[in-house]
């Protein structure tokens, strides 16, 4: 086992051991959204031509689950290790900062994918219609998960208390996700808010993913891919810098 694979294995085992909390609970939450919003809004809204509201909502919820859980995984793992002090078990061994980054981000993507897959499986009962472009789906899931896993790392490195991590999640991640077009098409918004939505990188993750599912979306998937890909590269570079410097990890 290399240093990297050991750290990845530990991160995967960590969330798997508390699967009720880390996998089952978010799947249930998404299903509640699906039941309630689907029930209330079905027939009243048709954000995408030829697609029912519930059908429109499902991919949004799948992607939202991927994103939120990828963030939760790296951020909570890191802050718990920092606060309990067991972070030293990964700081003492000869693990490079790149291996550290890769292990935490990949584990986050895996958790995001597992939860997203769970939501998708459950949503089959609500009438999932199939996937138009599986490679786009896969691409946006992996990139979106990686971005949120990286943001989780930044939050986990920066926060000294659970309170600060909660602030990062509730005041930044949550609004950006909720306002990204999970529950609506941004075309239904007034022109001004459509423009504002285009400043939100989360919008492009959801929209690109929806293109993969339906073959139709608010903006071109290529544009979304370039924006999401650039966001990942920038965030990864920032995080690698922080890790290399040992920011808040090595005094």
């Amino acid at each position: 086992m290399s240093c990297f694979s050991a750290l990845l294995y530990k991160e995967l085992l960590r969330f798997w051991k508390v699967g009720f909390q880390t996998v089952a609970a978010p799947v249930i939450t998404s299903l509640l959204y699906l039941m309630i919003f689907g029930h209330v809004l079905e027939g009243r809204l048709q954000p995408l031509e030829g697609v029912s509201y519930t059908g429109f909502l499902i991919p949004g919820l799948v992607m939202m689950s991927v994103l939120q859980n990828a963030f939760a995984n790296s951020s909570s793992s890191l802050i718990q290790s920092k606060i309990t002090g067991n972070i030293i078990f990964v700081l003492l061994p000869p693990i490079s900062y790149r291996e550290f980054f890769a292990a935490y981000v990949i584990a986050s993507v895996v958790r995001g994918v597992v939860v997203g897959f769970g939501v998708w499986l459950a949503s089959l009962f609500f009438g999932w219609t199939g996937v138009a472009h599986p490679w786009w789906v896969l691409g946006f899931v992996l990139l979106g998960g990686a971005i949120l896993g990286t943001l989780g790392l930044i939050a986990g490195i920066w926060a000294d208390k659970f309170d600060q991590l909660a602030a990062f999640q509730k005041f930044l991640i949550m609004p950006l996700t909720m306002l990204s077009g999970v529950f609506y098409s941004i075309r239904s918004l007034p022109e001004f808010w459509q423009q504002v939505s285009h400043l939100n990188p989360f919008f492009f993750m959801i929209d690109g993913f929806r293109y993969g599912v339906f073959g139709a979306s608010d903006v071109s998937p290529w544009l979304s891919f370039v924006i999401v890909g650039t966001a990942f590269v920038l965030l990864a570079a920032l995080t690698l810098q922080l890790l290399q410097r040992g920011y808040k990890l090595r005094g």
Binding site: M1, S2, C3, S5, A6, L7, Y9, K10, L13, R14, K17, V18, S81, T84, G85, N86, I88, F89, V90, L91, L92, P93, P94, I95, S96, G246, R250, G251
Partner: protein, 307 residues
Amino acid sequence: MPNPDTPAISVRGAVKQYGALQALAGVDLDIHQGEFFGLLGPNGAGKTTLISSLAGLVRLSAGEIRVMGHEVVRDYREARRKLGVVPQELVFDPFFSVRELLRIQSGYFGIRRNDDWIDELLANLDLSHKADINMRALSGGMKRRVLVAQALVHKPPVIVLDEPTAGVDVELRQTLWQFIRKLNRDDHTIVLTTHYLEEAEELCGRIAMLKQGRIVALDSTPNILRRVSQRALQIRAAGMPDVLPTFLAEHLLARESGVLQLRFDRHAEIEGLLAAVRESGALIEDIAITQPDLEQAFVEIMQENSR
């Protein structure tokens, strides 16, 4: 095989500054391979900062540290492979069982299939029956033993124990020291920080005392003891004259209600002192030899450096 002349730990001009606070104020220190070395000092003296710097947990403001010849920042992979650290805090990962934790920790050092050594560690630390128990369910003493096992999964030649017996019961302390002594006999270099001075006195061949980020004493344990206090012959006798004969007066350290404390350097001097007491007409009732102890040495050295 490493060159036996390479110091196990070599510290050169180590300075660590936290804002206005200087935790290490220029430390130079060589610890040789196979030594059992004690690092002593009051709280805030810089012991933990020094250990953290050599483990790569803290980055020095100036100076450098090598472990078995490997510089701890540039050549961190090799330096960390050579080093096992038992931290002071009782930290644990609540998600895993003892065995899982030790397997994962082995993996961090690139070691596959380490179960034979893990079993040996568990047996030596009296943890075999707890191997599949979750860390949360262990008592404090057991968690401490797991920390020792974690530090040793990769068989490091240099082992640092930062206050390993703080808050640990006597029985565990004995088990732990037996095991650490065995490791030392098997050529592992041991560096120990402790608040229990009798432990350092009993175990360490050489001692460095730190105060305010500086080394204020560095010598073999017997030399440190000799430096600050001497052995004394304590005699309780009846009918001791008020004015002592010159020979006894020259050796007198203290006199208190029929008990004399007499200084001596070599055992051969004891007979002469006893004879002088008898010749003075006194009747010896009890004798004892008092040894200097590290606690006394510690206090005196710390006081010397306050002046």
